[in-house]
Assembly symmetry: C2
Homo-oligomer: 188 residues x 2
Amino acid sequence: MALEHAILVSLLEKPGSGYELARRFDRSIGYFWTATHQQIYRVLKRMETDGLLAVREVAQQGRPDKKEYSVADPGRAALSDWLHEPIEPESLRHDLAVKIRGAAFDDPAALVREVERHRRAHGDRLARYLAGEQRDFTGPEAPAPLDAGQELQHVVLRGGIAYERMTIAWLDDVLATVHRLAAPRPRA
Amino acid sequence: MALEHAILVSLLEKPGSGYELARRFDRSIGYFWTATHQQIYRVLKRMETDGLLAVREVAQQGRPDKKEYSVADPGRAALSDWLHEPIEPESLRHDLAVKIRGAAFDDPAALVREVERHRRAHGDRLARYLAGEQRDFTGPEAPAPLDAGQELQHVVLRGGIAYERMTIAWLDDVLATVHRLAAPRPRA
DNA sequence: CTTGTCTATGCAACAAGGTGCATAGAAGGA
DNA sequence: TCCTTCTATGCACCTTGTTGCATAGACAAG
């Protein structure tokens, strides 16, 4: 279960509550992993029971109290074990590709609308990633010499940016292909 | 559940048994979706019970009999419904990215070994995809004018190729970054 | 004649993930 | 005062996916 390890890494970078983790999973961690708050709370509880995490009740003013989690020694050890064991290279799960091949048996116009929607969504994501890169790594506000942790975060973000650029180019290829298939014989 | 729809598309392209589907999921469908034979058999059974598929017992010589599945009218309708309803743009789940950020808290040498392993695996996949492209779409053995279904299969394969190329370039970026972090101060 | 491999199908148990719903403190606006 | 929004945590249920195991026909090698 890599969610556990993603949480360990995130809490090593900075301790925080389940709620805060959920927001990180909507932002930087979200470049390569997604999780809902229910999932996160459930796993946090189990990890605490297992002794991987330490909890601290934190009273706040102007908002409800929170539980701040941090990594305990057994958690660090568990992460280290995982980092040293090989994992399978991941495989894609791309619903849209199923739809594209399915369009051969159905209305291509519906596919075009869907692909255009996805293209916009990936364009938005790319813009968000680029803004985050400016803010945290390459802009004038960013820390001048990045430390090792920040360099590694940056290279992961560059991966997200490359993925979005590649996906956008591919979706353009898909649109061009579908149009090419529709156009050549308008009065066949 | 997109596995159901992936099976519908695959059976529309060509009827076949669970075993054959499992092999397709190791090949062309595997460009964008993976599934084990247990999953496939389970879903096939349910889809047949639901009336989406028709089965035909086929006796074979030299090997066990098989059940050949094909898409029934309600299956075609179910696929069409799904093709017309919007789906969420997918998000990545990349364990390796967790490891990369985790390397800030552990031995970078282990990360290098792992990244090199993944780089090789993606290189192998790219070679397989390119060979398949030659064989089915661009080579001299390929059908001269591709029909719409083949054009769509090709554009999906181009997506897989673009993904592997992007990933390989990114993994090189990761290796360069890790080496840069290790090199500058060998006697600090 | 036994062993191994390929084809072919399947069950049982478990792990992981997603959806819907519920609760509750604090702040701000209608 | 009521309603909404944001912060904050959590349960119950259901679907999906994975792992391990089991069976069995046909063939080839030893």
